[in-house]
Symmetry: D2
């Protein structure tokens, strides 16, 4: 029997940052998730839901409520969310009220479009963690799978640490 599809909800963040030469600026571009999964030769069923394209510092309470409602309504028990790193733990807190789903947030400290980025590794961690963990909310960053309520971003160091 084929496993249940994994839902991947994208909200923006550094992982999907693109560089727009005409404006000499970066912005969240089209999500790289499907491209990364193709290169990774993923045959596990999945579906990508592009929900938002925002820097996580710009996410509002309404955005988080929309994210919560979307994840709650998704017809899958296994959900990966790509998200900006600065407020990833805030969204994790909001999602903690959803019962019966294994939700893993991840993102990147360098854009997936870079030759050297943590995006692919992180997505791999999240993809595995959502298959292997009990229902709850988790964050996969810096080579570690954290419980969503037991981690913070150390912005000075540019890394996630236990708290």
């Amino acid at each position: 029997m084929s496993p249940e599809p994994i839902a991947i909800v994208t909200t923006g963040g550094t992982i999907d940052k693109a560089y727009f030469d005409s404006l000499s600026t970066y912005q969240v571009g089209e999500t790289m998730v499907a491209s990364l999964l193709r290169v990774a030769r993923v045959t596990h069923p999945f579906k990508v839901v592009e929900l938002l394209r925002k820097d996580s510092l710009e996410l509002t309470d309404d955005d988080r409520e929309q994210l919560r409602a979307t994840v709650a309504g998704i017809d899958s028990h296994r959900v990966v969310i790509t998200h900006g790193t600065d407020t990833m733990t805030d969204s994790a807190a909001v999602l903690a009220t959803i019962p019966g789903k294994t939700i893993v947030l991840t993102g990147a400290l360098a854009p997936a479009r870079f030759a050297e980025s943590d995006a692919t590794f992180n997505l791999g961690m999240a993809f595995a963690a959502t298959q292997t963990l009990a229902p709850g909310v988790y964050i996969a960053m810096n080579g570690q799978v954290f419980r969503g309520d037991a981690v913070r971003k150390d912005r000075q160091q540019g890394q996630f640490v236990s708290r």
Copy 2:
């Protein structure tokens, strides 16, 4: 408290294939694992043990016994093994006798040195799975975490499938 270091034992396989122009041939080169973990900004403690540099079709019974003894003797409960894909399940069977460790085998269908490879994603999956699963032997490939005794490589399709 810092988490227990993850041990990564490398045995060769496509993941570490390099191209040697002087011989016009691909062979297993220096392992890319440490480089991939650096790019992934992994801060979780780990140690890399370069054990073998072989195509997995060339692994002998002695090689597998050496692998088993090495993993059994490693001072960590969480072990990732990079391995050629063609006989990955054979090694998984040999490792199944080791109690009390979460062992995840992974590898790649395209060399890690390629711009487009499944190596980084797979390593991310294995890194997460070894943190999140109960003791036992697992294989992480093609976006899926399999039990080591419940998977085979479909060589025609070039992918791992449940059996």
Copy 3:
């Protein structure tokens, strides 16, 4: 006899844009030129002069005069300049007064740190053009070697065209 070293003067621009997660912004970072030449296995002698780290829209008349003086004073007849694309032709005009040197400006429309960038190809073009052309000022972009006074950037299209 070994050929005369090629001087590469870097001034910033998109080619060297890096992404700084702590600021959620792109800025000119350390130049990628030496790294690109290493990957390209360049054995032709060269020296890199990091002069400026500016977006080319921020270059002042003083900056251009400093660039002109630096290039004029360099002990080589073959000079490559990496430069932001928006005012590359303005700098070409200022450099046109330097006699006896083959000067080729180049840059990139996508940062060299991206997996998909025109930086390496453009640097290759400039490196060849400075070896093969008579003294004068040239621009190498979009697969074409232009005379410095016969080209403009079409910002709408994001490409260089003859004028």
Copy 4:
């Protein structure tokens, strides 16, 4: 007026080597040239002619005669040839009888499919050299544009040197 299209004739070699997991072997795959030119945002007109897919040690006299006839018959004065490095100078000698065309041979010491390859830089050099040089046969490798009859490959060192 638009410049005359550059013809790119591909013959195989390391530049186009792919890795085939099902055979655990490398072979010349589909040419990467069009993909490299797309990433390089080349707007200069060009056409790609896939002629051969051979390791250059396997090229026969007949192959070289076919290459000569193809290049002689192409409706363009500017021709780039991608070629294995081991017998590049042999083909250069055969092509030297073609009058009125600027022919630049290039290739790579590491496959273009690698994250770290000299392919893109070399193709950029060849693309520029064919626009800027007088009719004749040239080789662009290791950051240098050589006359076709004044260069050899030092196989021990894995690089092209003047002779």
